[in-house]
Every structure is written in C-alpha cells, then in structure tokens.
C-alpha cells in the first residue's frame, strides 16, 4: 500500500537550486487538469443519468409543463453550452442550487463542518491506535503478537463500516443502552448550541465553549460510536502501513550497519527506522483523509450523522444531480489539494522524487 508519488510526469531536465520551486509550481498547475477532469466526469455521468427536474417533478407535471420548466432552467440547451456554463459558475465559486432551493455553497458549509468534525476525531483515534500498534508489530515481526495485530488490521479492512456500526449499535445502544444510536446530538442540545453566539457548527467545540456538562456529555456520547467505528477501521490501514514501512527501513543497509555495530533492536526501531518510515506514512494519511470523505456516505448514513455524506445519499436518492455535482466537485478539489500537498511534502523530504 505504499504510495509512490509517480502521478507526476518527470518534468524533464530541471536542475539546480530552483528545482524544488519549479517542481512545486508544476505540481500545483497539475491540480487544475485533475479537478477539471473529475468535474467533467461527474457532469457527463450525471447528465447521462438525467436531469433533476424530470427526476423530481416528472410525475407531477404534464409533458408541456415539464418542457417549459426544463427550458426555463436551461436543461434543453446543447450539453456543451450547459457544460461551459457550469464550469464558468464553478470558477466564480457558484455551485448552483438544490431542487429544494438551497444554495449549494450553504449546504457545503453547513454539512461540511459535521463531516470535518467526525473525520478529525476518527483520524485522531486512528493515529493514536494505529501508529503504536504498527510499530509494535514491526518490532515483533513474525511472532505471534505480530500475526495477531496483522490479522486484526486486515479484519478492520475487511469489515464494512455499516456492519461495524450495526454491531456497535447492537451492543452499546440496544443491549447495554449506554450510547445513542445515531445523530450528532439530541434535539434539545442542538437547539441550545444553535443559539450560542458565533456558533462554529462543530458541536464539540461549541459545547465545550458553553462549559455546560450536560451539553458536552450529550455531544460526546453521540460522537463515540461513529468515531470509534470509523477510527478503528482506519487504524487497521495505519497498522499495516506503519508495519510495512518500518520493516522496509529496518532492512536498509544503514540499519544493518548500525545493527552490526551492536545497537539494540529496540533502539533501532525507535531511532533509525521510525522517523524515516513516517514519511510515506504521512503521505498515505493524507490520502486517507480523501478516502474518508469518499466513505463518509456510508459512515454518516449508518449513524445518521448529518454531514456531507449523509446529504449526498439523500440527494442521490432524490436524483438532485446539481447538488451531487456540487458536493462531488468540492470533494474533488479537496482530494486534488491533498494529493498536491502530499507530493510536495514527499518532494521536500526526498529529493529523488523531483526528477
């Protein structure tokens, strides 16, 4: 699963002091075609699937009324014109409106915070669990404890989040009754938090700001199951990643040299292997964020967590293609930016990447 940043075509004969700068610039410019291709793909695929007006109102309007609405909304124009129009709007930061007449930028902001909140907690959990366990497994490689962690990590990969969610809910919500089944907070808490001045939309932050124990408890008790489900599954990826990369570095000649000088294995792991191994780990973690966003649709549906993924599922079911396009375009931008940052970090650390 090691990621080689080979997305970049060799920029050719770049030499000298400015090469990192030129690489970064070239790599940055490459974001635009990537995003463009993604957005175009969504646009084409969505238009093949149909138009939002027929999907939402076809059953209620006569053919003529439908035709009139399609014309009004511009869906009867040549597809190329619509496409260029859409790109123009996107470039101006206008994502369009949903069929229930909300500005999609509003939707992105409102629900994006919810998705971000879950991703941050799940990511933290994954790192806190995944990195130490991966280190441990690498240190004890090929022994029973290593095998156990590896199998656990593969199990985490093999378990769909909705199945993990079902089991967690069954045990902790239904049988034990400790934690709520879903949602970001109970209604009363949401109302209270919605009225505090300068509410950020990040419920844990807002609850902590009020300092009220009941609100904090309510918000965090809702967060536990989704964060644990998503966090544990992601931790599995991290365990495998850290282990593989550390074992690779542990068999590098310079580590062997240190080993032959009599440096103890535990010290080798700690000082020689750990830091170099972290580089690919960091890059993959960046990718993992992007993956989390893509997988948000499952996690959020499972736990009724009203974020972008949850809304996306709703808009997909309602065939609101404009809204889907908007959300996917945002995801595309985030993914492309993440990949860019990851590549730049990699290039900064390892000069070979630049050539």
């Amino acid at each position: 699963m090691t990621v080689t940043p080979d997305q970049v075509e060799s920029p050719g004969r770049l030499r000298g002091v400015g090469s990192l700068g030129r690489y970064v610039l070239l790599r940055f410019l490459l974001i635009f075609p990537t995003v463009l291709i993604l957005v175009s793909m969504v646009f084409v695929v969505m238009r093949v699937a149909g138009d939002p007006i027929t999907a939402s109102m076809g059953g209620r309007l006569t053919a003529e009324q439908l035709e009139q609405r399609l014309t009004e909304a511009g869906y009867n124009r040549p597809i190329l014109v619509q496409y260029l129009d859409y790109l123009g709007d996107l470039a101006r930061g206008d994502f369009g409106r949903t069929t229930d007449n909300q500005a999609i930028t509003e939707v992105l902001i409102t629900y994006g915070t919810a998705t971000l909140e879950l991703a941050v907690y799940a990511g933290l959990l994954a790192m806190l669990i995944g990195i130490p366990l991966g280190r441990f497994a690498a240190y004890h490689r090929d022994r029973a404890s290593d095998a156990v962690f590896r199998v656990l990590a593969i199990l985490a990969y093999a378990t769909p989040v909705f199945f993990a969610g079902l089991l967690l809910k069954l045990v902790f919500s239904v049988w034990l009754g400790w934690l709520p089944l879903g949602g970001r907070a109970s209604t009363q808490t949401q109302i209270s938090l919605g009225t505090i001045p300068g509410a950020s939309g990040l419920l844990t932050v807002d609850a902590l700001r009020t300092g009220r124990a009941d609100l904090i408890g309510d918000v965090f008790s809702h967060l536990v199951l989704p964060a644990v489900a998503l966090g544990l599954l992601t931790a599995g990826v991290f365990v495998r990643l850290v282990r593989t990369n550390m074992i690779s570095t542990l068999s590098m000649p310079y580590v062997d040299a240190a080993r032959s000088r009599g440096v103890r294995e535990s010290r080798l792991v700690r000082t020689h292997a750990y830091r170099p191994a972290l580089i690919p780990i960091v890059t993959v973690m960046g990718m993992q964020l992007a993956l989390m966003l893509g997988g948000a649709i499952l996690t959020e549906t499972t736990f009724e967590w009203r974020g972008l993924g949850f809304e996306l599922a709703r808009y997909l079911a309602a065939r609101d293609y404009v809204a889907v396009q908007g959300i996917v375009a945002l995801l595309a931008v985030i993914v492309a930016l993440t990949n860019f940052l990851v590549d730049v970090v990699a290039a900064f650390i390892d000069p070979r990447v630049r050539y």
Partner: protein
C-alpha cells in the same frame, strides 16, 4: 374500537355553538388541574418524533403528508372538522354556505388574529387562495382548487368563492384540505414562496401553535399560540418539539427510552410489535388514511391494448384471477403484523360511503383467496397458464416493508401455478415517472387523503376530458366516471352515499386496480401521555394540541 366511543363523547361535548368554545376550553383546563393534583403536574413540554419529511413550511410549496402534519399545527383553516368527526364545521369562519349554486359565502369571525398580532380578515383569505393558485408550485396543492373561478370580498368579514361548477358538494371539504390554509398577507410574499427562515421570522401563525425555531427535517420547536381562538381551544401543552428522524430504528429506541414522548409515523411493523410488549409505552391504533394497492396498466398488462395479443376478455380474466388469489389477511398479519388492515374497496372502511365491493366479487367471498375460482376464470377465457406478470414496486417511498409485501404477493400468485411473477423495485425518482410513462405493466401505488371523503379516493380513477386520471386515460372507465360525476352534484347525503357505493362496485367490476391494505394510524406514546385517542379519528388529522403529559 374503544377509541370510537371516546370520539363520540368528545364530539358531543363540542357540538356546542361556537361561542361556547372558549368555555369548553376553560373547562378542559379545569379538568387537567384537577387531574394534576391527583397524578402529578402537567408537563410544559412534549416531544414528538417522526420519520416524515417536510418539503417546505410554506403551504403553497408542499403537498405531502409530512408537511401537512406540521402545517396542521401552525396554520388555520376557514373550516375544519371536530375531533371524532369528518364533517367540515366553521373555524375561522362564522358561517359558511352556498348562497347560489356556484357561490359559496363565508363570513369570518370578528377579532381573529395571527400570532404576530396581525388581524385575520377577508382580504387575508382572498390573498391566501389567490396566492396558491398564482404561484402554482409543482410541489404545491394548487390543483385542489381547480373549481375555483374567483374570490370576492364585499367587506372585511365576508368572502365569496365563485366556483366553476354548480353544487360542488366537495367544496367545504376542500377548504379543510392543505389548499385551505389562511395566511397573513402582510407576512407572505404574493408571487413566490417564502423561505422557512422568513416564515419563522414573521411569526404569522394562525394555528394552535407558533413556531419559534425550525431546522428543516431536524427539528421544529413550537410554542402555544395564545392568540389562537378557534374550534380546538387552547393547546394542552405549552411547548412542543417535532423531532425528525431518517432512521426509524433510532426513533424506536428513543421512544422506548423516553427521549421522545410520542412517535407519530412511521415505525416499522417489527418495532411496533416489539414496543407493544414494553413497559412505559403504549401503542395506539386508530383509523388510517393510507391505501396500498396495485394497478394494471390497461395497455401493457397481459392481453392489454398495446400488447402483441390484445384481448379485453382475457385481460379481464387475468385481472380477476389476480384479484382472486391475493390474500390480504396474510399481508396484513405476516408482513405488517396488524399495523395495516385488509381493504376491499378503494375507499378505507372508516369513511362514510365505503362499500366492500371486492369482498363478494373476488376470492372465496369472505376475504380469502380462491385458487379454483381463479383457475376457472382463466380457462373459461382461454388463457394459457402460467401467465407471466411483471410487477413493479417502490422501495423508498412506501416503506421498506414493501419489499416483503411484494415478495409475498409474488408467492401468493405463484402458489397454484397460474402465474409466473417477476418482481422488481425502482427508486421513487425513477418510479414516479416510470409508471406514468407506461413502463410497468403492473405496479404498486399508495394514496393518502387530502380531505376525509370517499370522493378523494375515488378521484384516483376519475378522469375527465380536461384532466385524465393519474392512472392514465386507458385505465378510465366511463361508467365509474359517470357515477363519480353524479355523486359530486348530489346534495342529499343518502343519495350521494348510494352513488358512491355504485361507483365502487363499478370500479370493482372493471378492476383497473387491486386495493390491498388500509393503514392504521399508529401512534406510540409514553404511558404518561394523554389525549392520543382524541386525535385518532377518521379525519386523519394529527392534532398535537390535544396531547398532554404528566410528569
């Protein structure tokens, strides 16, 4: 059926002249304070959980059950029905009657106000109806007002509706429908829909409650509207919150654990059956408005007019054989665990004029299936068996149990080797177009009422020259249409009921649809919630203002 008795008592109490209404409400308050000394104080707040979806707060932009339930708490009608009855009686109106065959005159009670203090006058009424028709939002109920020609307001307290047809006996019912809410002309824009935020801001609510905080499909927080002076009296509980769920299992657990006080629409059959055995909650079953049925497309169903082998007689025999084989009792009990009941007409049995036309005509004559009868019909008509049926249903609009319902129908029809059934589901956004475009030879549909009258269900199959039936022109039956038209002009109640009965019989003979089940109104409430039975009546209006809770 204990609930029916409760209705009767309540109806008797409130069939007092309207002037006495305030007094009745006063008495009710007295009652509860008596009760409170006996069994704990009455709580100030009540939470209702639902999986319904609200399209918009603006009544001109929504015509669906989820929106209607919420609107019913915060807006007011000229006419409404009393708890326990389906007859329209004056609410904002003082009197309401036909003053000429095409002229319906309503006088408005003096000193009626919206929650923001604005006066509710004749011009608000005119504004509300003209706005609805003018905006004509495709999600809105404007087509219910098809018979409205124009509105005149001779003075501040009088509204005259001029209608296209004469003696439209349904007009009073239409005034109680989602097309009949009275809005404040100073608060709502005349030409376009108001946003949810604008509506909450303007506080122009006429119903028992005024909304104070609203987040679409998350929560609606309402507080008692003290300026409400209508038929239902002051709301029992001061603060009410509607909490919207997307996942019914979350709602189920929350009602079980007491996070919400009332679960109104829609818990799955499994959840209801499970809750019925739990302490602390009570399952209330009342008459319901929902009808589940399936339709034969007259053109594409076996031997239909657009098939390779069109043959009206064989087509009818196939439809009859299907109707003979359907076992509604099994569907109601096994799939829906009694939360639905068998129905033998397109009109739910709780409504006046409902006749069990399908009961005698099909199956064993007492509601059960009859395979022999079906086989005879097919062989008499010379139909080769097994007949292949392609049956389409929807999996995200009529509840997830639809999959089980149609799997069972498949096995019922196939049991005796007369039919081979392919069952497929389609998501609603495709489905709602697909069935109109004749894509499905047999397909599932459901129906909810706009106003509690048999006509609203028969209207399903009714088509005129101007507007064809929603089941398509080819599925219309001239005899049924004729009978429905006659019933609409019949002012004598008994004669009208007779015509409605004949229309149902004619429909059963022609058999374009097979009605399967009628919904029951399932409300699960904590045991300390009172008043649930009072809101469960054949008018199918959920009135949260009748509910109260003791701590």
């Amino acid at each position: 059926m204990t609930s029916v008795r409760t209705f009767f008592v309540l109806a008797a109490a409130s069939v007092l002249p309207l002037a006495a209404c305030a007094e009745v409400a006063g008495e009710a308050d007295g009652d509860t304070s008596d009760a409170s000394t006996a069994s704990g104080a009455q709580a100030d707040s009540l939470t209702v959980g639902t999986t319904d979806v609200v399209t918009a707060l603006d009544p001109a932009g929504s015509w669906d059950l989820g929106s209607a339930v919420l609107h019913g708490q915060i807006y007011r009608w000229l006419l409404t029905s009393e708890p326990g009855s389906t007859d329209p009686v004056p609410d904002v109106a003082e009197t309401a009657e036909f003053t000429a065959p095409d002229e319906y005159t309503v006088t408005i009670r003096p000193d009626q106000k919206f929650a923001n203090g604005n006066d509710l006058t004749a011009s608000d009424v005119k504004f509300s109806f003209e706005r609805l028709v003018g905006i004509n939002d495709p999600n809105g109920p404007a087509q219910l007002l098809g018979d409205l020609k124009s509105i005149e307001t001779p003075d501040d307290h009088t509204v005259v509706f001029l209608l296209n047809s004469d003696n439209n006996v349904l007009w009073p019912q239409i005034l109680t429908s989602p097309a009949g809410y009275i809005l404040d002309e100073e608060s709502f824009p005349a030409d376009n829909l108001a946003t949810d935020a604008e509506i909450v801001e303007a506080n122009a609510f006429g119903g028992q409650y005024a909304m104070t905080n609203y987040s679409a499909n998350q929560h609606a927080v309402m507080t008692r509207n003290d300026l409400y002076d209508g038929l239902l009296g002051s709301a029992q509980t001061k603060d009410v919150t509607f909490q919207y769920y997307t996942d019914a299992s979350n709602l189920k657990l929350d009602i079980e654990q007491g996070q919400v006080d009332v679960a109104y629409r829609t818990l799955g059959a499994t959840a209801v059956a499970d809750l019925a055995n739990k302490d602390g909650v009570k399952v209330h079953l009342g008459p319901g408005a929902e009808l589940r049925y399936f339709v034969f497309n007259a053109e594409t169903a076996p031997y239909g007019s657009a098939t390779d082998e069109p043959d009206p007689d064989k087509a009818l025999a196939v439809r009859q054989a299907v109707a003979d084989l359907v076992d509604r009792e099994a569907l109601a009990e096994d799939v829906y665990q009694g939360t639905y009941q068998p129905v033998y007409s397109v009109v739910p049995s709780a409504l006046d004029g409902a006749v069990d036309s399908y009961l005698d005509a099909y199956g064993d004559g007492s509601g059960g299936p009859d395979a022999e009868r079906a086989a005879d019909r097919l062989s008499e008509a010379g139909v080769e068996t097994p007949v292949t049926l392609n049956l389409q249903y929807n999996n995200d609009h009529y509840g997830e149990s639809a999959a089980d319902e149609y799997a069972m129908i498949k096995s019922q029809l196939e049991a005796d080797g007369l039919f081979t059934v392919n069952v497929q589901s389609t998501v609603w956004s495709e489905y709602s177009n697909g069935y109109r475009n004749d894509e499905y030879p047999l397909y599932q549909l459901g129906w909810f009422t706009d106003y509690p009258d048999a006509d609203n269900y028969l209207n399903l199959v009714y088509g005129s020259d101007a507007v064809e039936s929603i089941l398509g022109k080819a599925n219309e039956d001239p005899t049924t249409n004729e009978l429905i038209e006659q019933s609409r002009l019949e002012t004598d109640a008994a004669a009208r009921a007779d015509l409605l009965g004949q229309a149902q019989d004619a429909l059963a003979d022609y058999l374009p649809i097979v009605p399967l089940l009628q919904g029951q109104d399932v409300i699960v409430a904590r045991s300390n919630v009172q008043g649930v039975e009072e809101t469960q009546d054949p008018s199918f209006r959920f009135r949260v203002g009748l509910l109260s809770k003791t701590d």
